[in-house]
Subunit: 502 residues, 2 copies
Amino acid sequence: MDIEIDRESEVPLYRQVSAGIAELILADKLPPGHRLPAERRLARSLRVTRTTVVNAYLHLKAEGLIDAHVGRGTVVLPRRVPSAGVADVRPIPWHYFAADDLGDRPQRLFNEFVQRGASKGVIGFSAGIPGEESVPAETLASLAGQITRELGPRAFMPTPSEGLTELRATLADHLATHGLTCTAGNVVVTTGAEQAIDLLVRMLVARNDTVFVEEPTYAMALRLLRARGARLVGVPMDEEGMRTDDLETLLARFHPKLLYTGPTFQNPTGRVLSLERRLHLLDLAHRYQFPVVEDDVYSELRFSGTPVPSLAALDEHGYVVQVGSLSKVVAPGLRVGWAIAPLPVVRRLAAAKAATDLHTPTLNQWLAERFIRDGHLARHRRAVLRAHAARAALMDAALRHWAPDLVRWTLPEGGLSLWCVLPEDLPHDALMEECLRRGVTYLPGTLCAVDGASENGLRLTFGFPAEAAIDDGIARLMDAVRAATPSGEDRAAAELGTAAVV
Amino acid sequence: MDIEIDRESEVPLYRQVSAGIAELILADKLPPGHRLPAERRLARSLRVTRTTVVNAYLHLKAEGLIDAHVGRGTVVLPRRVPSAGVADVRPIPWHYFAADDLGDRPQRLFNEFVQRGASKGVIGFSAGIPGEESVPAETLASLAGQITRELGPRAFMPTPSEGLTELRATLADHLATHGLTCTAGNVVVTTGAEQAIDLLVRMLVARNDTVFVEEPTYAMALRLLRARGARLVGVPMDEEGMRTDDLETLLARFHPKLLYTGPTFQNPTGRVLSLERRLHLLDLAHRYQFPVVEDDVYSELRFSGTPVPSLAALDEHGYVVQVGSLSKVVAPGLRVGWAIAPLPVVRRLAAAKAATDLHTPTLNQWLAERFIRDGHLARHRRAVLRAHAARAALMDAALRHWAPDLVRWTLPEGGLSLWCVLPEDLPHDALMEECLRRGVTYLPGTLCAVDGASENGLRLTFGFPAEAAIDDGIARLMDAVRAATPSGEDRAAAELGTAAVV
């Protein structure tokens, strides 16, 4: 038989053989009833294994082109009418997805705008992560060498679901230096803080449960909670963070299953909840009996001002689960985070973690462990905080220089980004378009708004772009703000429109 | 003030200071109204920073022990009555968890028995993973060195949620050698195949949806599906895998939202679905319009017999999502897996992945990419398959030598484990106890049973324990089987009991 075989091709040999024979059959060179050569003989003539021919014949049989019976050999079948079998397979209805499918959200905005921060020529203020300049790559590389030499295969074998015992102990020691008294048993290691939030939401929140969050709040937490079917209540904020007086008022109306909060350098506003409000919040949690998830991923990044104890450090009654990570302080691609929780919560988190990804990769856990234990974290943090402070000051200066009058912001005392509030009537879509044109991105506050009633804010990450690009980026952004600002005439028309409707 | 400070302690300095002052107050050495020293002065005398004293005072204020006002200084407050505040905080009701909480399952069995496979002196047949002897630690270590040198900080920066572009392309090429035609765009990289299953279940299955699985099936998939509230229908199996005639009968009664199957070296039975049944299954999927999730993590581990094309390779209509991993062939602790899916599914999986853990760790994705691209996988696989074949033969020989008459098993043609079927009346709890006593573990088939109607089977992993321990382990296990087997008298009594009831 005249069949061409390409041994360099990615197409497996048996598919090449079956495709060749199918071609001959469909071209009527092998008519119905024609007996195909025995497998061993064809194999020899094509210089392939017998298995290859067996599989090729099985495939042709599956396609209804040939038939084989013991004693009768393999024969070409009469051609099927096209309406039968394969031809009338309808496309699969993949669009019937589950109601709480996490993919169920328009990704266009995120993909086309926010992620463009990483493209060439674009100055990205959108990512909430440190840039390459702040990643201790050499230390991590040398630790990786040390660990793999020392541990051999064990660096690639599983760890318990709750995390490597050594890392749990080292984290507990490390957090004690931040005033959080816990033991290794309170630690669950996760694939970034993101996963800790996901597991906690899955564990604690059912459809229609009320969850309190700050207004605005972390965009991805919003997405997890919305997909879960939670009823979200946004607690207003001011410069001192969540307004706990408003929280108390809301507690008279709703009983939350959970309060999710970022009290220190909150995402996206960068604000710090005052100590007085922290104590008020805890008092309310105790009185109204709701658990608190404290997102604490930014607290190590304070470069000025006085540290305030975390909610978990202040709480003595186990109401707070604290979520942390090395993504903001060390490296975002390492994917090592954690939850610090009371023991019954740890047990369930570990079981949930086992079902979702078994455990966080072993080498990464060891990298985190050695990085903290050997003092690299403390050293790296000092260096990186100096850099962040300088970048924040740079962005502040650029804003002073380029921003129009109505734009407001506060120089933060830590974290990676600065919250910049625009006039309320500045249209968001127009601003994004103008920014795309000028090659600059930010995180739109609209992604973080619980009910859209948030300030018209932008989160600008000073920690990510090349330091030298910050001034230029702010110039481009403020240029876009000016271009997107409605003219006096538009404003008058809009007001007239409103007046006419009222 | 007489306060002891231990600079080596894990307790932060401010907590040591506040605890020291609190002790003096509670011992009445500092009476109500006593004015505490100014922060700066106390800091100097204790040789701590002013911030430490500020925080210590804030903490004491929070505890209601002192009060501070500008101009009046810091004074000790009158002692609170114990009934107020902190003292009457009720414990938080952590037990109100969500209904589909993944932690909601007794873990005792798993923790106390299955995981004991890793303890000293115990011969573990329970883990479904290769042992340290089969992990290519040196190659992975040298690749890690290469990658970190070559990429610098980029080895620790984020990748897209759907995975590193280079790894997606390399995987698509690699899978083509297995007859699966796909492009990089069809690949979503996950933190192990486990996560791919989790994301697919979250995307496709809602509460009360019917899901078909083999009876028995992968224990962790069962757990994910049960937590999700799926109605599970177990399709019976025989030596050729899932009985597709029974599947067809069930399809007349139920419409599944999803069929989850492991056609090649199925977990836990190690069985391989015949080609004929694969084609029948696909035909049913096309006619009854249900998507198929093919768990293909073991197919690369065939050490004898003829390969059968995967469902994804046979399907030409995009009904099959294939899930794969490097955990079984390379290293379980690397946590790199994937899903191969039609594009609309890829988009949603990537969005879901972004919300759950952002992306799989960067260095691990590069390790996987280089390991496959540079030909290490092909070489390693050849070596490891020889070892697995030898181990399987060893276990088979040990069973022939030690197993009592009524125990049945089949020597598999690949995978990591062997399915061993015990007499139906062998009590499971007794067997586990006898095994614990003798230091040997296995995966109980009861963990894999959909409705408990499964064979009384044990999954015995020949790929995990030290090769030299296999014979001894089987001897211990069969000794335990004999000890747990009901005696003739017990049997007669049990039969009598049944007869009396009937």
